[in-house]
Amino acid sequence: MKWAALVVLALAPLAGMGNYPLHLLIMCLLWGFVYTSWAIMGRLGMVSLGHGAFLGIGAYVVVLLWNHAGISPWLGTPIALVLTAVVAFVIGYPCFRFKIVGHYFALVTLALTEVARLVIVALRDQTGGSLGATPNTALADSAWSLGALQFSSKLIWFYIILVAWLAGLWIWGRVDRSMTRLALEAISQEEDAAASVGMNVTRLKLGVTLLSALMTCFGGVLYAQYQLYVNPETVSGIGISLQIVFGAIVGGMFVRLGPTVGAAITLLLAEVLRLAIGHDVHGLDTTIYGLMLVLFIIFMPKGILGAILEALEKRRAAKTAAATA
């Protein structure tokens, strides 16, 4: 069933999908990947409002190295990942060491994402400031350039991003399996209890954070190369950081496919509203989206998919109870 769905998904674009639906599908998977990356740490109670910083590093480092030094994204990406790891470590280690949690962790990471945005804007001579930047094209006389990681075909991008997304889900599962139940609980709440049985909570948290940050950074690379345009507001700062958090929450950050469902719902909602209302009414789609978010967090904190799975679980439990009774 799972595999059949995957095959359908993988083959769908070959069945003559239009450019626009294909673009939407790619965006769903790309943001699904980024939201999943965030949720890998978010579900453990480490609510980062700073993932815009990692996304921004991924997007900008690769584009800037390509444009200013002619360094291929194949080399630029590892550089961006190393830089992300350093930043995540520098922020994460003291936070976990000194037990900065909850509001405080959220606000420290919020400061981080603002630093990233401001640095991008301040380096306007190199980055183009708030106008954004476009990677120098390598597609002048061919449809694709592997070295520059630029492809004019959306189909190629679909498969690249599909693989990334699947890898993200696989990592989620690996994290789940490699950590004992106790470790997971230790991270999210019973920190002192875990420390007393000799668990190195700081190291566990740091590991998860690094993983999450690196994946998000990679998402930033893919975003920049696919869109061939980066802008400080769309890849860093408080706006995108909150968008990542909310996408994951709407879908359900405690279940594996939740963040992806969140990405799909938010993207489709925006598109449907745009088609229904047209471009004339600025802000209506985000108004409804904002209202939904508020209602979600109040009434359905487990998200759409989380709530559905829970309801199914309950029904199944009720059925078994009825059967045994």
Binding site: G45, V47, I91, P94, C95, F98, I100, G102, H103, Y104, A106, L107, V108, L110, A111, L112, E114, V115, L118, V119, V121, A122, G237, I238, G239, L242, V245, F246, I249, V281, H282, G283, L284, D285, T286, T287, Y289, G290, L291, L293, V294, F296, I297, I298, P301
Partner: protein, 288 residues
């Protein structure tokens, strides 16, 4: 060298005046933070709506400026109370992080509503206060007023909190919410009043910002983060700490901006904030 010094001095003095605005921005957020233990991530968006309220009062309805300013304060005060009643109250028992996130949802909502209602064009009330020249320095009159209002707001808030029954109750409720009914206090009523007060202070900040800045739906994002940093560095709910932190941040921004560029000023301030969090997570005045 002489010229250089006078410009540096101007940056320092302007930094002090900017500190006044930041202190005023932080005051309301700190009050709510300290009493209800909830961060209004959408605080700056309330200010944004307050600025629109002043604009509508003055430029659309044609009211005199003072009335429009009073209107601005009143609108945000009501919004603060509504925010508490309909958004915060249902999640008071939920996990702290949900309380933070729900106001983040409100942030999106308010921004979108403003876009929907007021459009994305920049608006301004058409009043620009002059620059004041002191010796060879030029100082912003609007900032000077903001500084004085912030100072008056601080003193007024201090007197209210220490001298009145309501103020004492507001301080008490953050220390022991559960026994407030035994004092004959309805905790929800105190929370509502506090939220309205916090909103009113945001409205006051809006009145001063509208004299200096153009209004647009996303303006909250430009000074929201710095306001959180000021509050946290001052020690959540510690108003005096917040006041001091405001001036420290303002100097980083103003002097840093003078030597480099205004964004670098902010970058230095934020990096300083992150460093401070590791060194003194309980705020500059807190004790370990």
């Amino acid at each position: 060298m002489q010229v250089f010094d006078i410009f540096l001095l101007e940056a320092v003095v302007n930094g002090i005046l900017l500190g006044g605005i930041l202190a005023l921005l932080a005051l309301g957020l700190n009050l709510v933070f300290g009493v209800i233990d909830v961060v209004w991530i959408c605080y700056a968006e309330l200010i944004m709506l307050g600025m629109y309220a002043v604009y509508y009062g003055h430029n659309v309805f044609g009211w005199p400026l003072w009335l429009a300013l009073v209107f601005g304060v009143a609108v945000v005060a009501v919004l603060g109370a509504l925010l508490h009643q309909f958004v915060i109250r249902p999640v008071l028992a939920a996990e702290p992080i949900n309380q933070l996130l729900v106001t983040g949802g409100v942030l999106f909502f308010l921004q979108a509503v403003a876009t929907l209602a007021f459009g994305i064009e920049f608006k301004n009330i058409g009043i620009r206060l002059p620059q004041l020249s002191v010796g060879e320095m030029y100082l912003s009159v609007a900032r000077l007023i903001a500084f004085l209002v912030a100072l008056a707001g601080m003193i007024g808030m201090y007197l209210f909190l220490t001298r009145s029954y309501l103020g004492t109750a507001i301080r008490a409720i953050s220390q022991d919410r559960a026994i407030m009914p035994l004092m004959g206090v309805n905790p929800n009523r105190i929370f509502l009043i506090t939220s309205a007060l916090g909103g009113g202070l945001a409205g006051l900040a809006a009145c001063l910002l509208v004299l200096q800045y153009d209004i647009h739906p996303a303006i909250g994002l430009t000074f929201g983060p710095i306001t959180f940093m000021v509050c946290v560095m001052g020690g959540l709910g510690n108003m005096i700490g917040g006041f001091i932190a405001a001036f420290i941040f303002a100097q980083f921004i103003s002097v840093g901006g003078f030597f480099l560029h205004i964004e670098w000023g902010y970058v230095i301030a934020f990096v300083f904030f992150i460093g401070m969090m590791f060194w003194r997570p309980q705020g500059i005045l807190g004790s370990k």
